[in-house]
């Protein structure tokens, strides 16, 4: 085999590869692009394993700042401060953390008219392995409804198409939104 043969082979391999449909782009990258396009460059997270990949991608994206507060309620305060400063911010959290934010959401976000953007992983649903997550998991949508936070369900990667449109509504109407996401929306960990 000559050097020339090797070159030809590699060209052939590349050509074949470009014809075969590759893996879909990561849903996490689509989420970050949509956040960025809608003026959000600060992410605050109390993590969930479902969004471990999103957190890594956020950390590695130089356009974003990522903060880890000790608790969700504290994260809510940080995002409210950012919003008051005119900066777009998102919280990444489990639905269990929603329960820790109820008073602060009412007396800060509602009372002062500060909109909140949440990406919430839905623990305690039919896919849950940890029984203690189930009681709040069953009540999560009703809790969000009660708080007046619009719920947008993200169940499968194609739901990414809805994500950008709903972010636009959040920004235009200055209304709070919770993207309630299933494990099946995110890349497998």
């Amino acid at each position: 085999m000559t050097i020339r043969d090797l070159d030809d082979d590699s060209v052939a391999v590349q050509t074949r590869a470009s014809l075969v449909p590759g893996p879909q782009p990561l849903v996490e990258l689509g989420v970050l692009e949509a956040l960025w396009r809608h003026g959000i460059d600060l992410a605050v997270t109390v993590p969930c394993k479902y969004i471990a990949r999103l957190i890594v991608e956020t950390e590695q994206d130089p356009r974003f700042s990522l903060l880890y507060p000790s608790r969700e309620e504290e994260g809510l305060g940080i995002t409210a401060g950012a919003a008051l400063a005119g900066r777009g911010a998102v919280m990444l959290l489990q639905n269990s953390g929603l329960g820790n934010m109820v008073n602060a959401y009412c007396s800060l976000n509602i009372h002062y008219g500060i909109p909140l953007c949440l990406i919430v992983t839905h623990r305690g649903d039919e896919l849950e392995r940890v029984p203690a997550q189930v009681p709040l998991g069953e009540r999560t949508e009703r809790l969000l409804d009660l708080l007046g936070i619009r719920v947008v369900l993200l169940e499968k990667p194609p739901d990414l198409a809805r994500f950008g449109a709903e972010l636009e509504v959040h920004r235009r109407e200055a209304s709070s939104v919770a993207f309630l996401s299933k494990k099946t929306f995110w890349s497998p960990s």
Partner: protein, 190 residues
Amino acid sequence: MTRPDVIRAVLARITDDVIVVSNIADASFELCRLHDRPRNFYMLGSFGLAPSIGLGLALSRLERVVVLNGDGALLYNLGSLPTDGRYAPPNYLHVVVDNGAHGATGYQPTATSAGTDLVAVARGCGLPAQRVDTPAALGEALDAWLATGGARVIVAVASERPDAPAPVPPYSGREIAERFGRALAGAATA
């Protein structure tokens, strides 16, 4: 030293551009009575979140941010100190008026009245921190921060019961947020 003494010492030194976030109840009421300014953010709820709101502001703005907190509120959101120490924006000052009590609810004793040392906790979170017991010492600490900046905690030991209570600020939450937002709009962001 009383809480109004602490607030007066801060107000005497800061310029108009400085952002002030004040804890729920008396700190907000007294700040509004002493000097109602557009860059004051009066908290009326969300107990404990003053340092968190202040951190979000400090990380998003170039101006200095002063948080006027209390010992009970800081104990309620003690997890804010490691977060402050971790991100430590240089334009951030956290002043804790430590009267050892929950003043707004009838002066029930907090853990600082039994020896919890908030300066030691703050230092353990990587934050430069100092305790001041007199208006003169507080003034020196504030002057030092204004000269050098750097995320910092000042614990001002105050008498348990200050002056007569101040009135509630005559604004709704939305009015406070809108006025505050207008004051910041157009100025430089971080």
